[in-house]
Symmetry: C2
Subunit: 363 residues, 2 copies
């Protein structure tokens, strides 16, 4: 059994202690005579687990009391489809800010049911994204139903470093790939959503944090299972939730609290990303990341080598060196290192060392 | 570590060998240097796993080649919302047959977007369900968009024992709680769906088996993530699927094949359910199940005791005797024994023995 530094963009590496606990409890959990994956979501034991996970997540993220926290099946893309169904008004307009691939995905999911205004996009003429659009460029719709941003673009490696001010219009944010990586003021957002498989734990479950007054909006015609208010009213047990995923998310959240919370992960994220960005900066152009420095993601670092051949060689040799999942997303190619909370600092050090070594041999 | 006979209606008991394998592989899987829950769904290794699971499931259920098999996040209720979005025609009507609670849920999810015709219901004036509506009673809509049935009603313990003939109208069936429990002719259905957490494995993933020509229907305006055709075109990897759940489903499907396939589980289901129904029949009215014998479910057996006090006592004493999760669903009360594929025959024998013993002491 050899566990290796894993730079996967998601599903992503988990804390080894979390996996060890899940392993120990796989056949029987908490003295109930069965695994947690085998018991009813309506059992006393699971309801207690769910409540504890919610309480811990509220503590971790400093979620105000006037926000509901939902644990929903599936990924962030499903939420992108549910946002307009729940919060658009008939004939209304939703504003979207595009700073990368996932902002475009959010629009794709919304367009069939709501009028979308692309209030700003930083896409260049040749299809690149190198920054977050400056707030001064945003062409917001007066009385828009909401404004949607992608707090971190996993593929393009672009991160909002501040919460934009959009006045009284509800601000919705996809935090899938940078939630819990630094302190944020939840109160500045109307809704935050995050697929868990990057910073919060396992794949198959998504967290939605929504200001409760928003849940009173009528929205558009939709099934009850697509209704956030119904999920909130039933503590995310409107139907059978992904219980095992919820459990593993809970172990990961607990681990983050035990390690020192988001302030500590902000420190680690700064350190890890600095190690890799330094290796890029000090490579004399051998490694390239063109994102404007103030928008560079601390979570996902895409970078490029001088040729396709060297890129392919880097992929093969890094894997041979025991550094997993560094191949870039097919949308932009190159290399991508994801440095989520569960990735230890020494893994980033190992990557930076490998980058220098690879350059010495091939630069 | 004590594993006990577990009659949970779902999430439900899993084969111990499946859990042991998941346990052994929790920290590292298949020599990849990480757990299966930590790797990309787009990695070569996971794509191979996914293809193998699909092939095994096709073998287990004898799925014809002209059907797509989808592995989707969430539960059956989500599919109930997606059916009309994908297959209703503007202004069209969908026919629903109601034989219990879940048939009503299916209607609740569909109604916001399609005209629903309740073509038949077996609900009695006092809200009971004791049979499947006779085919001769069905008031089908000519050229309906589809007909929906619930192959097994998990709460009311009512099972279709034959596939109804609905002519050329596509027949959709919720097989969540009896899939893979006996051979069925998939070709008689246009679409079958099943939450996996009863007979197929873990919670958090749902299987949809759909005749490919249906995927060409335009349906209603909807997000791409709600589009079955998009999921089919991308081998259920349109977005990040619940990979760990898919893996555990795969282990369970493999176990069912190794045990002898659906023919063997049909034998075991007959044996297990007979044990419990016999204990009811031989109780002289102490235990009651009012469902008409030809519609009694082999998967879920609800039964009632002479008083609320005895019911409560049965719940407490059965748990003390090491028989888990026998409390009935709150919608109808009483006791419920779920006898899914992973529940061993001796567990049903133990329950039947306990029932006789309890009656002897309290009858």
């Amino acid at each position: 059994m050899t566990r290796l530094p894993n730079f996967s963009a998601g599903p992503a590496t988990l804390p080894e202690s979390v996996l060890r606990q899940a392993q120990a409890e796989m056949l029987e959990w908490n003295g109930v005579g069965a695994s947690v994956v085998e018991i009813s979501h309506r059992s006393k034991e699971f309801i207690e687990l769910a409540a504890e996970v919610e309480a811990n997540l509220r503590t971790l993220l400093s979620v105000p009391d006037d926000y509901a926290v939902l644990f929903l099946a599936g990924g962030a893309t499903t939420q992108q489809a549910l946002l307009p169904l729940n919060f658009a008004t008939p004939g209304g307009t939703a504003d979207y800010i595009v700073s990368g691939h996932w902002g475009k995905t959010a629009i794709k999911q919304a367009r069939p049911v709501v009028k979308v205004n692309i209030a700003a996009t930083s896409e260049t003429a040749d299809g690149k994204f190198l920054r977050v659009p400056a707030r001064s460029e945003w062409q917001l719709t007066p009385n828009a139903d909401y404004v949607h941003i992608t707090a971190n673009e996993t593929i393009h490696g672009i991160e909002f470093r501040d919460t934009p001010d959009v006045g009284d219009v509800p601000l919705f944010a996809d935090f899938s790939s940078n939630i819990a990586s630094e302190p944020i003021d939840v109160g500045k957002y109307a809704l935050i959503y995050a697929g868990a498989q990057k910073n919060l734990g396992p794949v198959g479950i998504t967290v939605v944090i929504v200001r409760r007054d928003l849940l009173e909006r009528a929205g558009l015609p939709r099934a009850d299972i697509f209704n956030y208010a119904s999920h909130a009213a039933r503590d995310s047990m409107l139907n059978t939730p992904p219980t095992w995923n919820w459990y593993l998310l809970g172990l990961t959240v607990k681990w983050m609290l035990d390690e020192g919370g988001v302030a500590e992960f902000a420190r680690r994220s700064a350190r890890k990303s600095q190690l890799v960005y330094d290796a890029i900066a000090q490579s004399g152009g051998f490694y390239r990341n063109e994102v404007l420095p103030e928008f560079r993601s601390r979570m996902n670092i895409p970078f490029f080598l001088p040729s396709e051949e060297l890129t392919a060689q880097f992929v093969v040799e890094s894997k041979a060196a025991g550094l997993l999942a560094l191949k870039g997303h097919k949308a932009i190619g190159g290399i991508r290192a994801s440095l989520y909370n569960a990735l230890p600092v020494p893994a980033a050090q190992a990557l930076a060392g490998f980058m220098r070594d690879f350059q010495n041999r091939n630069g």
